[in-house]
Amino acid sequence: MAAKSHARRQTSPTNEPLYVRWLLVIVGLLFMALFIVLPVVAVFSEALRQGIGVYFQSLMQPDALSAIRLTLLVAVIAVPLNVVFGVAASWAIAKFEFKGKAFLTTLIDLPFSVSPVISGLVYVLLFGSGSVLGPWLRSYNIEILFAVPGIVLATIFVTFPFVARELIPLMQDQGSGDEEAALSLGASGWQTFWRVTLPNIKWGLLYGVLLCNARAMGEFGAVAVVSGKIRGQTTTMPLQVEMFYNEYQSTAAFALASLLALLALVTLVLKTALEWRFGDELAATGRGH
């Protein structure tokens, strides 16, 4: 009796009985398998069903290659711009008090809360033939809609929140004490940013960039509206996947899809590797999760 009550005391009050724990674990795993692992496996098995030769062949066809090139190009433009915007916006929000700050914070979240299709339609309204801007730009031979600039704009819009969302809580948490210290020691604003602020936020920034990049390459809805889907010119990878699929070229569709899935996996692995390798430093720079 005494031994039993002693043993009981050793278990923490938040511990559940064994069967409950197992039940929860199994439910979790089943869900994961059904909704996450299975689709990924399906994509790869479908892509490789006719052998590795056909897989690479379908990736090498001009339409696929052009889609890959365009997606990379869009990401290369959109991600750095969003890094600059994101850092600037979170700097302003976290370190300064100004009128309309709450409004700006809400505005940054807008691309998350608006359906991507609507984001695309906004650009159609802004630059379409019925708008003021569209015909004016066209008179200078600048095409926005159904061309690469439109795709880049739509992608920037949709992926804007990733970097800022990552940095705002981090910078708010860190406060401006370090910056004030640097300034009091005689550093200029620029020196303070490069030597103090940036090192303090680098891991958060890297997370933001990874997520932003993954979304920039995978964005479908907004890009679909503005791209016009001109084969070989304005189709990004996700759009090309859909086109292949609709044309019953399922191997090509899944081959291209597998590349996107691979990108997602690489992002996840990088993120985990960063967490594992720099866990201490992440904790030290005040990143909670």
Partner: protein, 350 residues
């Protein structure tokens, strides 16, 4: 360097934090800005540093008007309550930072910067820890690094914002003594903010007591303690009791009885302030007399709480812990040193 604060006012979003404050800081002195939270002491320090801009008024460094100068141009050393060390830099890099960021023309050589940083780490007794990161140090060590970092730029004025506020009592006492030693050795004009009167009384050459955005009194610790100029200072520095009294023909009355002390002040209502240890026990009627409400021993003295008169006014007095009066249920005493202030509508400070 001398610092002169001249009629400075500061508002945050129309909310006044400082009203028309003037203060002369002498070259080489160690002065404490002392006050409760919300008294404006940190705001005043940040204004001197240039981390805030005054709404009105001027701040002079020596003969020079520094009001329009940026924090970088003022050449001050600032030590923050929570250290604000750069966490991604080693201790040596932290201390060298102020020299490293100088423009090339005035920047010392790499070897010279290193030599000076190591010298400062020696001064703050942290030699051998230069390769560590801030997270690997204790709170007291971090604050010493912060001080070394501030001293590295050879500041004209050293400003410390609650430098020991985040440390435990033991470390705080040690660092206090140590800061005094460093000040005596380096001779920097030093301003530090604190809400801890004991710290201010022990460490500072002069105190500047602040309340609600105003300076209440400036003076040496002895002057401020022995001759408080306002009820606030009497209540805030050291311990005190206050009683509402009446002056009639030079005698001071509490309710319907004289209490055996007299004042040349004009007749009328007033408030009587005295300290628990500045009293003498007396026999007879002309005295303050009260019923013992509680009695506890604090170190070498006995602190007795007395209910005075019928209105349950409570005062505190100190007796030697072995004094026979400590056993009584009724005690009569007279304040030996006391001060009268005009009455207010507010309840007296206790």
């Amino acid at each position: 360097m001398e610092v002169r604060v001249q009629n400075v006012r500061k508002e945050f979003d129309r909310f006044p934090a400082l009203h028309d404050v003037s203060l002369d800081i002498k070259s080489g002195e160690l002065i404490a800005l002392l006050g409760p939270s919300g008294s404006g002491k940190t705001t005043l320090l940040r204004l001197i540093a240039g981390l805030e801009r005054p709404t009105a008024g001027k701040i002079f460094f020596g003969q020079e008007d520094a009001s329009e100068k940026s924090v970088q141009e003022r050449n001050i050393g600032f030590v923050f309550q929570h250290y604000a060390l750069f966490r991604h830099m080693t201790i040596l890099e932290n201390v060298s930072f102020g020299l490293e960021v100088r423009p090339r023309a005035t920047r010392p050589s790499k070897a010279e910067i290193r030599r000076r940083a190591l010298e400062l780490l020696d001064l703050v007794q942290l030699s051998g820890l230069e390769k560590r990161y801030p997270s690997q140090l204790s709170g007291g060590q971090r604050q010493r690094v912060a001080l070394a970092r501030a001293l590295a730029i050879e500041p004209g004025v050293l400003l410390l914002d609650e430098p020991f506020g985040a440390l435990d009592a033991q470390v705080r006492r040690e660092l206090r003594k140590w800061l005094r030693e460093i000040h005596d050795r380096t001779g920097h004009t030093t301003v530090f903010v604190t809400h801890d009167q004991e710290e201010a009384l022990e460490l500072a050459d002069r105190l500047c007591v602040m309340s609600q955005g105003k300076i209440e009194q400036v003076g040496t610790p002895d002057t401020v303690y022995d001759q408080p100029q306002s009820p606030f200072v009497f209540g805030f520095i050291g311990e005190s009791s206050a009683l509402p009294v009446n002056i009639e023909r030079g005698d001071i009355w509490l309710g319907d009885r004289p209490i055996g002390i007299s004042s040349p002040e004009a007749s009328g209502a007033a408030r009587l302030f005295f300290r628990p240890h500045d009293i003498e026990l007396v026999e007879g009627d002309a005295a303050l007399s009260g019923v013992v409400a509680s009695s506890r021993r604090v170190g070498g003295t006995r602190r007795v709480e007395l209910d005075i008169g019928g209105a349950a006014r409570r005062v505190e007095i100190d007796l030697p812990f072995d004094h026979p009066a400590g056993e009584r249920s009724q005690i009569s005493f007279r304040p030996k040193r006391w001060k009268l202030f005009p009455p207010t509508d507010q309840p007296p400070l206790s």
